[in-house]
């Protein structure tokens, strides 16, 4: 792995006291959600998916080995990206059917009724809302989403709402979940930070990077305009990559010289951490050094995942906001 963050996680799991996190989840839940007994944790699913998407892109683009990369690994990662892309496309295609009204007063509640129809992912019973408490809790998207036991990899029996999910519901679609996800993160991140992060995104193939950024403050309650750009940008990026034929016999030079700017996906904790505003004050120089130091056999201190979570969060935000 070229990313130091990932190097840290290479030998050891990011073991955290699961109990503690669960408690913080609880606090976050009670603080943020009106009805904890809501349906599927749509937001965390979206967050998971986005995280995996980012990780996959990172693997494909940041890997510059001396030897040929493993074709099997490349194919599997590519399949993952394709699947996520198709999911997003399908969700995006449902959008025109919905009224262009403002999202309900409880953005969180509306998001849980939707689930990606393509993937038929059964809903978890408790909505643990992994994305709701990112800063106070230890939010490392990867391991956090795993402690979010029910949503992630093993799913309990399908909920009664599952069959209804396949038909396009009359409720606002995934874009609201995007906006609500953004809302949640917004509530916890200072607005100026998110604005900076949005403006810090350097690349958008469609050239409307200013749009989401400028609309950010107003877009909190009406995230729909952001989503088309986000939606289009992701498949667009992906199509560009496939059209360069990185699966051909040629090396990754094609991608390296392709017309895409991968700096957005350059998840270097150094640059991203330094790019955040002063509001992210917990990210001190010490924390930075801790991340950069090679991992030791000691159990991970709570501050360490916390530090890495912030950078991860920042990256996710950048992508969510749209490039």
């Amino acid at each position: 792995m070229t990313c130091k963050k990932c190097k840290t996680a290479n030998g050891y799991m990011l073991g955290k006291g699961g109990k503690r996190k669960f408690d913080e989840h609880e606090d976050g839940l009670e603080g943020k959600i009106v009805s904890p007994s809501d349906g599927p944790s749509k937001v965390s699913y979206t967050l998971q998916r986005q995280t995996i998407f980012n990780i996959s892109l990172m693997k494909l683009y940041n890997h510059r080995p001396l030897t040929e990369p493993s074709l099997q690994k490349t194919v599997l990662i590519n399949n993952m990206l394709r699947r996520i892309q198709e999911e997003l496309k399908q969700e995006g295609s449902l959008r025109p059917a919905f009224p262009a009204s403002s999202p309900p007063a409880d953005p969180l509640g509306s998001s849980y009724r939707e689930a990606p129809p393509a993937f038929s992912h059964p809903a978890p019973a408790p909505c643990e809302l992994g994305g709701a408490a990112p800063l106070e809790a230890c939010l490392t998207p990867a391991s956090l989403l795993e402690d979010d036991q029910d949503t992630f990899c093993t799913s309990p029996a399908a909920q009664p709402a599952a069959p209804a999910r396949l038909a396009p519901p009359a409720l606002p679609p995934e874009k609201d979940s995007f906006s609500s996800a953004l809302d949640e993160i917004e509530e916890l991140c200072p607005t100026s930070t998110s604005m900076e992060a949005a403006e810090a995104t350097t690349d958008d193939p469609k050239g409307d990077s200013g749009g989401p950024g400028a609309q950010r403050p107003e877009g909190l309650q009406d995230g729909r305009p952001d989503d088309p750009k986000l939606m289009d940008s992701l498949p667009g990026n992906f199509e560009i990559t496939t059209s360069t034929g990185f699966l051909t016999d040629l090396t990754l030079d094609d991608i390296l010289f392709a017309d895409i700017d991968t700096s957005m996906y350059d998840f270097d904790p150094c640059t991203s951490a330094s790019g955040t505003s002063s509001k992210m004050s917990p990210v001190s120089a010490d924390d930075l050094l801790k991340t950069l130091a090679p991992y030791s056999s000691q159990p991970v201190a709570p501050s360490q995942p916390f530090k890495m979570d912030l950078t991860e969060l920042d990256h996710i935000m950048e992508v969510l906001v749209g490039s």
């Binding site: 030998g11 073991g15 693997k59 030897t67 391991s143 795993e146 992630f152 990899c153 699966l247």
Partner: protein
């Protein structure tokens, strides 16, 4: 192959600071000859004094190093000087009426990348990341040392492959040995196939214990004699000498694979073998190196449509026309070479329908088959995916007849494992001689054994630190969640850099070889 000694891969290893070993010969091109002293292990001469005073057996001369802990604990040794643990005090309990004894543990200079017993089980070959092959031989039974039987000592070491550079793609070709397969023994010499990503080589390992003396045209030290000075003719006499083991490359099968070779398999006709890379499977004749037949090709016309690759392939142990290959999507295809020249259409298709309740983002990745092995009987085959081992009946394609969970507790950690690339680890699996048990590796230097008849399984650990002399180790347990009991290992404290990918089981007896990164462990089952 054309390199001379001193400029070979061995020289490169010197530069990297690795230990050199004595003996003559260069690298790939010339035969590797190890003198008895360096090779060690035979009982022709009396046992040397205990180490570290053993002459000529200094550890600096060989790439194999004695683990320090074992050196302190070792009791009487034999002459090998090669790192070897004392036997007896180390026991591992497997079944109640059996003890698994650690009879060998050695530290190598490089990460072991493949382990394979010969067909008779008396030789054990290992390949490492540095392109070297080390062969161990089992000790013969000796009356004076009744406990010596079953120990494996270094028999031969040679540099099989060297790093190359692909100038067209500007990429290095690793010298790592991906697979070793023995040929069935047909004479005094032994043959094996070793392969890296691109090239397969057939090596001949032969013993020489006699030397001819009394040549007419040259002296004993090899200098040519002046023909004019020769006054009498003599017949050379064969005299015994210290046993020497030579390894010489007999065939080189190169330039047939665009992608990385992941499997080789010798056919039951003993004349042909297959080599499989990510997209193609080629059939070779052992005598012919300049051509091979392509029997499977799954490369799509448009590479952007590629969604599936070949991950492993093997010939049927008895039917020379049948082969199977597994894919990254969790499917296994059985092909009959009699049906057509190009076996793109399978004869049988094995796939287990996905369990919708356990579906996740990573379902496809964890279903990718990393190894496929026929049973010795030829009736079953075993596949290893990321979390489980499945036994298939060749007559039933719809689902496996057995599924054994290897480390189900990792299912909730798949995202982290995806992030640190552990989810792409390729574990191997193996059958025992009677097909009644199967074994595979896991993380934290754990390996798992499943008894198919009693349906019992055990988790064991291949490590020196946790072993006390004369104590039987309990099987290990991993605590998935909740309260951790004493002696249990919690999932969060597993070391994912210590993975056991390669294991091998003796074809007849209950002897197993387990490769844990740099260490090779050989465990023997001692019936009480």
């Amino acid at each position: 192959m054309t390199s001379s000694s001193g400029t070979t891969g061995i020289g490169r290893h010197f530069e990297k600071g690795k230990k050199k070993y004595g003996g003559g010969g260069g690298g790939g091109g010339r035969a590797e000859v190890l003198g008895r002293q360096q090779r060690g292990g035979r009982l022709v001469r009396p046992p040397p004094p205990r180490r570290p005073a053993a002459p000529g057996c200094a550890p600096a001369d060989r790439p194999w190093q004695e683990p320090e802990a074992a050196a302190a604990l070792r009791a009487a040794t034999t002459c090998s000087g090669v790192s070897r643990r004392s036997r007896g005090p180390w026991t591992r309990t497997w079944r109640k009426n059996h003890k698994l004894v650690n009879c060998f543990c050695c530290l190598t200079a490089d990460v072991i990348s493949t382990v394979e017993f010969s067909h008779s089980g008396d030789l054990l070959a290992t390949g490492d990341k540095g392109g070297r092959v080390v062969i161990f031989q089992r000790e013969q039974e000796n009356k004076s040392r009744p406990h010596s039987r079953g120990e494996y000592n270094v028999y031969s070491t040679f540099q099989s492959h060297e790093p190359e550079f692909d100038y067209l793609k500007s990429l290095e070709i690793e010298e790592k040995i991906n697979k070793i397969r023995w040929l069935p023994q047909q004479g005094a010499a032994r043959f094996l196939l070793s392969t890296n990503d691109k090239t397969i080589k057939l090596w001949k390992i032969s013993e020489r214990d006699k030397r001819a003396e009394g040549y007419n045209l040259k002296d004993e030290d090899g200098r040519l004699r002046d023909p004019l000075r020769i006054t009498a003719l003599r017949v050379p006499i064969l005299k015994p000498m210290d046993l020497m083991v030579e390894a010489s490359p007999r065939r080189v099968f190169a330039n047939a694979h665009t992608y990385h070779i992941n499997s080789i398999s010798v056919n039951s006709d003993h004349e042909t073998y297959l080599s499989a890379d990510d997209l193609r499977i080629n059939l070779w004749h052992l005598e012919i190196t300049d051509r091979s037949f392509n029997i499977v090709d799954i490369k799509p016309a448009n590479m952007e449509e590629l969604t599936e690759v070949i991950t492993a392939a093997e010939f049927h142990p008895h039917q020379c026309n049948v082969l199977v290959y597994s894919s990254s999507k969790g499917t296994i295809r059985l092909c009959d070479m009699r049906s057509s020249a190009l076996c793109d259409r399978h004869s049988k298709f094995f796939e287990e329908p996905e369990d919708p309740s356990s579906r996740s983002f990573f379902s496809e990745i964890i279903s990718s088959v990393s190894d496929v092995k026929f049973s010795h009987s030829g009736r079953y085959m075993m596949t290893r995916d990321y979390l489980s081992v499945k036994v298939w009946d060749l007559n039933m394609e719809s689902r496996p007849v057995e599924t054994h969970q290897v480390h189900e507790y990792l299912r909730s950690k798949l995202c982290s494992l995806y992030e640190n690339d552990c989810i792409f680890d390729k574990f191997e699996c193996c059958w025992n001689g009677s097909d009644s048990a199967i074994m595979t590796g896991s993380y934290n230097n754990f390996f798992r054994m499943f008894d198919r008849t009693t349906w019992r399984d055990v988790t064991l650990e291949a490590s020196r630190e946790n072993s006390k002399p004369r104590a039987s180790l309990k099987p290990r347990r991993v605590c998935a969640g909740g309260k951790r009991k004493k002696d249990e290992v919690s999932v969060d404290s597993l070391d994912f850099s210590k993975k056991i990918l390669h294991t091998a089981w003796h074809p007849v007896e209950n002897i197993i070889a387990v490769a844990a990164t740099n260490n090779l462990y050989i465990f023997q089952d001692k019936a009480n």
